[in-house]
């Protein structure tokens, strides 16, 4: 694989761009792999990448039923932050955030990481106290955050209505090193780097069954035939319950639709990410000028990748209240993704009741930010049997009552 560089652009400009390689290969599946990863979203691809890079395991296939990055990885609003409350969460999210800082160099692929700062507004006294607590917890965890007052909020984002009639802004939890990245580029960058290491990414290959012998996984059935493996990693987000059923166990997970929408492009008007959890909406501006908007998830199990209209209405209402200037904006597109919600709103990175079969899921409404850290930890878990990053996120925590309770820290979807 040829490296991308400024020199390569100049060279190709002189020869009508005829010399670019394919970004990744499209191989037919082999009979057997050391490791099969199901799901070529960000988490699956990052897992494969770190299996190769950190553990030297490259006889790996990533099987994807659609196209790579076509699940939630290509449908999210790309917020990256690590200001979580619990130590185990901030460890994995901060690992991810710090890997994002150098990911473009590491992958030789521009993922457009933009550490523009993430601001979570406090609009009730309770919220303010909650964020002060989070800021203190983050100080102890070594995650740089700060609780700022309304004046600083106004300075950072002048278009916010600070003295709104219902919910005046009392301050905000500010993480200057948070931000956004280009979601597709994260999937494509990992895919290209995996392919360069000899890892097979097989698209249009749906896993339809899990084979096992004596309680140990031996392979999978797919729409392209049976494939053997020594270890299996399920990384399929909203479809985790479907895969788990194939392997004969159940998960503490429910799948719901989460929506987002973007407006027509307008001139630059905000250069930070703002989340307003009390009124339930968040917004940032993309490099193209579109306002990227997200809100709440549907209230019932759902595999439709659509979502209910009244949620959009609620989200937009909340944001017009917070940012009155957007009231005349036209919305361009709306879409949904199937997110995998756990009871404690924390992910599952774990062994499973089936020997040799591992699962990485439960990232729910907020796993884009975690992709590099999750891949790093899950690869270590699959390769060596344990990882400090994933230790607290085992399936057994639901039986043992050791929840990683983040539902308070992250009141809104993102």
């Amino acid at each position: 694989m040829k490296r991308y560089s400024a020199f390569a652009i100049a060279r190709e400009a002189l020869r009508h761009h005829s010399g670019w390689d394919r970004a990744w290969a499209a191989p037919a599946p082999k009979k057997r792999y050391d490791v099969i990863i199901v799901g070529a979203g960000g988490h699956g691809l990052a897992t494969a990448y770190y299996l190769g890079k950190n553990h030297g395991i490259t006889n790996v296939a990533v099987l994807e039923k659609g196209w790579l990055g076509g699940g939630n990885t290509g449908r999210n609003t790309t917020i990256i932050r690590s200001n979580y409350l619990q130590d185990s969460s901030s460890a994995i999210y901060e690992k991810a955030r710090s890997l994002y800082e150098t990911l473009s160099q590491d992958l030789n692929y521009n993922v457009m990481f933009s550490p523009r700062g993430v601001m979570m507004l406090a609009q009730t006294e309770h919220e303010k106290r909650g964020y002060l607590r989070t800021a203190h917890a983050n100080a102890l965890q070594g995650v740089e955050t700060e609780f700022v007052g309304p004046d600083r909020v106004r300075q950072l984002c002048p278009i916010i209505n600070i003295d709104g009639p219902r919910y005046p802004v009392l301050g905000a939890l500010w993480q200057p090193r948070g931000g956004t990245a280009r979601h597709d580029a994260v999937a494509w960058g990992y895919a290209r780097a995996c392919s360069a290491m000899g890892i097979d990414i097989i698209q249009q290959c749906e896993v339809t069954g899990v084979r096992s012998e004596g309680g140990k996984v031996t392979g999978v059935e797919t729409s392209k035939g049976a494939i053997d493996c020594a270890k299996l990693g399920m990384v399929v987000a909203g479809h985790s319950g479907v895969l788990a059923e194939m392997a004969g166990f159940r998960l503490p997970i429910e799948s719901v639709a989460l929506q987002a929408l973007v407006s027509e492009p307008i001139k630059p008007c905000m250069d930070v990410v703002v989340m307003a959890n009390t009124v339930h909406g968040y917004m940032s501006q993309s490099d193209k000028g579109e306002m990227v908007i997200g809100g709440g998830a549907d209230g019932y199990n759902n595999y439709t990748q659509r979502g209910s209209f009244h949620h959009i209405e609620e989200t937009v209402r909340a944001l017009v209240e917070t940012f009155p200037m957007i009231s005349r904006l036209k919305m361009l597109r709306q879409w949904g993704g199937i997110v995998d919600m756990t009871g404690d709103r924390s992910p599952i990175l774990s062994r499973t009741p089936l020997d040799g079969c591992f699962i990485n899921c439960g990232w729910g409404t907020g796993g884009f930010k975690a992709i590099p850290g999750s891949g790093w930890g899950f690869a270590e878990l699959m390769a060596t049997g344990a990882s400090p990053l994933t230790a607290e996120f085992g399936l057994e925590r639901f039986r043992e009552g050791r929840f990683v309770d983040e539902s308070v820290a992250a009141g809104v979807a993102h």
């Binding site: 479809h239 319950g241 479907v242 059923e245 159940r250 998960l251 503490p252 997970i253 429910e254 799948s255 209230g299 019932y300 199990n301 759902n302 595999y303 439709t304 209910s308 209209f309 009244h310 009871g343 639901f398 039986r399 043992e400």
Partner: protein, 109 residues
């Protein structure tokens, strides 16, 4: 947008008039049960891609709880039935089996 019919008061309305209460017919476990029974009852869910039995409440109406059978893939509602039962009525199961050949309701206990 779902349209549900409340079997308690007979009103058909949009989903904003109702609130979903999650998987129906869960087997409850009490104080002396084992950890894994509690885990199953409290957390583990069928979460099927297809036919799902669930609890709903007519929050902005008569206020009562009831049950619904719904497809999570197409959002088709097969029917609603009263809350005072531990399993879906046979007529409803027959209707679903007719619409979804091959469907079996293995795991409602």
């Amino acid at each position: 947008m779902l349209i549900l019919t409340c079997p308690c008061c007979g009103v058909s309305a949009e989903e904003t008039e109702f609130h979903c209460g999650g998987e129906a017919h869960l087997k409850r476990f009490g104080p002396d049960s084992s950890d894994s029974d509690f885990e199953t009852y409290l957390f583990q869910r069928q979460n099927p891609r297809g036919v799902h039995f669930e609890r709903w409440r007519h929050v902005n109406g008569c206020g009562k709880w009831f049950h619904a059978a719904r497809c999570t893939q197409t959002l088709e509602i097969f029917g609603t039935y009263p809350a005072q039962t531990t399993e879906p009525p046979q007529a409803l199961r027959d209707r679903i089996a007719e619409k979804r050949p091959g469907w079996t309701q293995e795991s409602v206990s």
